[in-house]
Amino acid sequence: MDGISIGIWGVPLAVFAGAIRVSTPFIFVSLGEAITERSGRINLGLEGTLVFGAMTAYAVAVMTRSPWLGVLAAMAVGASFGLAHGFICKFPKVNDIAIGIAMMQFGVGLAFFLGKPFIQPAAPKLPSIPFGGWSDLPQIQAALNINVLFLIGAALALFLWWAFRNTRAGLILRVVGDSSDAARAMGLSPDTVRLLATAVGGALAAIGGAYLSLYYPGSWNEGISSGQGLMAVALVIFARWNPIGCFLAALLFGGAGALGPALQSVGITKGYYLFYAAPYVLTLVIMIATSSPTRSLAGAPGALSITK
């Protein structure tokens, strides 16, 4: 084994590297969705928020030459998308799942519309930290070149896990999510809590989009998201609304998504397009395995419409 070619070992290494690279958007969208769903509302529109966040981040980064300003701008528009969703769903007879689908179409359409001029110019990328400097192998160096947003996402997952249990805000969120009546009895306003939770969820989802356009794959085009925002919704159910679970599930999804490119890099190209389906098949299989027709899911917020 020489220093450049590491043969078949390249596959697990590429899957590991891919898991870290591909999982970051999943981490942010699923953490955002976990917050929203814990409040008892579901936002399927995060796919649109993700795409619009990707476009905004890229456009702002191109114009200001600062990727971090791009991320901030994406958070702002993501939060406003979330606020819009939360505001509309506040009204009686409005279905939050359907509004999510509508917001998804609107967000994607608006991103394509406003993003047309930004397909060509190059934006500055988000920084990454070379943890692999100790190794001589370029593959390992590349695999351990970890983006800052991934680390922030991991820290955020830990923080939210702690915050859901131990803070007043976490308690309020869980009470509202489990029973609107109990929340009202405590003097809380479920609508306001859900509005804020949806806004925070939107802001986080937009960070996931910013990562897509500013780091990996690192450009803005109309095919930038292939359902990451929606798969994150399934992922939250799989993770049982637990932030640490979201983080681990995102890594699993990232690894599944990286399998196709990894096999291709060592020359296995047969059925290449089928490997594209791997994350979706994995999601579906996990949902089938963990759902049950007779009992509601353990850990599910009581007021959430999707688990009924």
Partner: protein
């Protein structure tokens, strides 16, 4: 017919009002969905016009151009009708399960696989069998594959408790990957160079136009499917059972209805319509199965179904309206220099406003005869 048949106590009316009032009541109840939908479309158009004005283009001229591109001439009307044909079928794919309270958004997957099945099954017949037979076999293949694909979401919903919205969407992504695999590999026509596709259908097997129009037969098939679905839902015991199950699944089970069979049956039927849309797209428009099958008809169908409030008859005018908006996209692009996504923005705006306006149902006294004061 007495007014006392109503469960609400209705005050006695004068002789003259006795004949007029039932008619007014009937009209008021019928007018509510129509009036609210029109109101929503107007609000949506107004918001879109504001958006267009904000980016510095003349909104009125744009709306006029959209009208011209969609319905302004016989040519554009035919264009709109052609685009409405697949939307009729994909909207049914959303509207039928919705009667059972299910939100299925993965019609795109059934369209793609239905088209592929139709093209794939036609290959052995190239240059042989009579066209009508091949069309029937193709339609059947598309419908079966579509039924399996969306029926699977219904099956998972009932027997495993998997959320159908997410499952159907995941299935759509899987279907698109499967199609790419097949048209890049086993089913690829070696002659298709930079746009991989299956072998083209011979000209004999291309579905023709309705006599006197430049619109393919898919429109007639779509309208027929809508009418049949309406009869099924409104006039048969199967449809009645579905409406009960959609209202309250537990009550339906207590009454001995086979909710599982209803769910799987309705989703499979819905999927067969979307699969048929794919086959028609292949036989009438594309001529072979290729990546253009995933053109978003499945997603626009969701909007059509919600606009029509899941009523199969209402789907017909709404699909033509959306087909017209779709058709005007090219004209907007050429004349105004706006991106093709302009149409998507308008569709998204309309979709949100329509759903928001659900909140107005029952709020207006004029549409609710139970709240009418006794006439003086």
């Amino acid at each position: 017919m007495t007014l006392e048949a109503n469960s609400h106590p209705v005050p006695a009316l004068g002789e003259r009002a006795g004949t007029v009032r039932p008619l007014l009541e009937w009209l008021a109840r019928r007018a509510e969905p129509l009036a609210i939908t029109i109101l929503a479309i107007l609000i949506g158009l107004a918001l879109f016009a504001i958006f267009i004005a904000l980016i510095g283009k003349p909104p009125v001229a744009l709306l006029q151009l959209m009208y011209a591109g969609g319905f302004g001439s016989w040519f554009s009307i035919q264009n709109s009708l052609s685009r409405a044909a697949p939307l009729l079928l994909t909207a049914l794919c959303v509207a039928l399960p919705a009667r059972l309270g299910l939100i299925v958004i993965g019609a795109e997957g059934a369209v793609v696989l239905g088209g592929l099945a139709g093209a794939g099954i036609a290959l052995p017949f190239v240059g042989g069998a009579p066209a009508l037979l091949v069309w029937l076999i193709m339609a059947l293949a598309g419908m079966i594959v579509g039924a399996i694909w969306i029926g699977l979401a219904g099956l998972l919903r009932h027997y495993r408790g998997v959320n159908e919205t997410i499952a159907s969407l995941l299935l759509a992504y899987i279907a698109i990957a499967l199609m790419n695999h097949l048209i890049e590999g086993p089913l690829r026509d070696p002659a298709s160079l930079n746009k991989p596709s299956t072998a083209p259908l011979p000209p004999d097997y291309i579905l023709g136009s309705i006599p006197g129009m430049d619109v393919h037969w898919g429109l007639v098939i779509g309208v027929t499917a809508c009418v049949v679905s309406w009869v099924l839902i409104e006039k048969t015991s199967f449809g009645f059972a579905a409406r009960i199950a959609g209202g309250n699944a537990r009550a339906a089970q207590i009454q001995g209805l086979a909710v599982g069979k209803l769910i799987v049956g309705f989703t499979a039927l819905a999927g067969s319509f979307a699969g048929l849309a794919g086959t028609i797209e292949v036989t009438a428009v594309q001529g072979s199965a290729n990546g253009s099958l995933a053109a978003g008809y499945g997603y626009t169908g969701i909007l059509v179904a919600f606009l029509a409030r899941h009523n199969p008859l209402a789907i017909i005018p709404v699909a033509i309206l959306l087909g017209g908006i779709d058709a005007s996209g090219g004209l907007i692009q050429r004349r105004m220099g706006l991106p093709d996504a302009t149409v998507l923005v308008l569709q998204g705006t309309l979709f949100i406003v329509i759903l928001f306006c659900e909140t107005f149902y029952g709020r207006f006294r004029i549409f609710n005869p139970d709240l009418w004061k006794r006439s003086p």
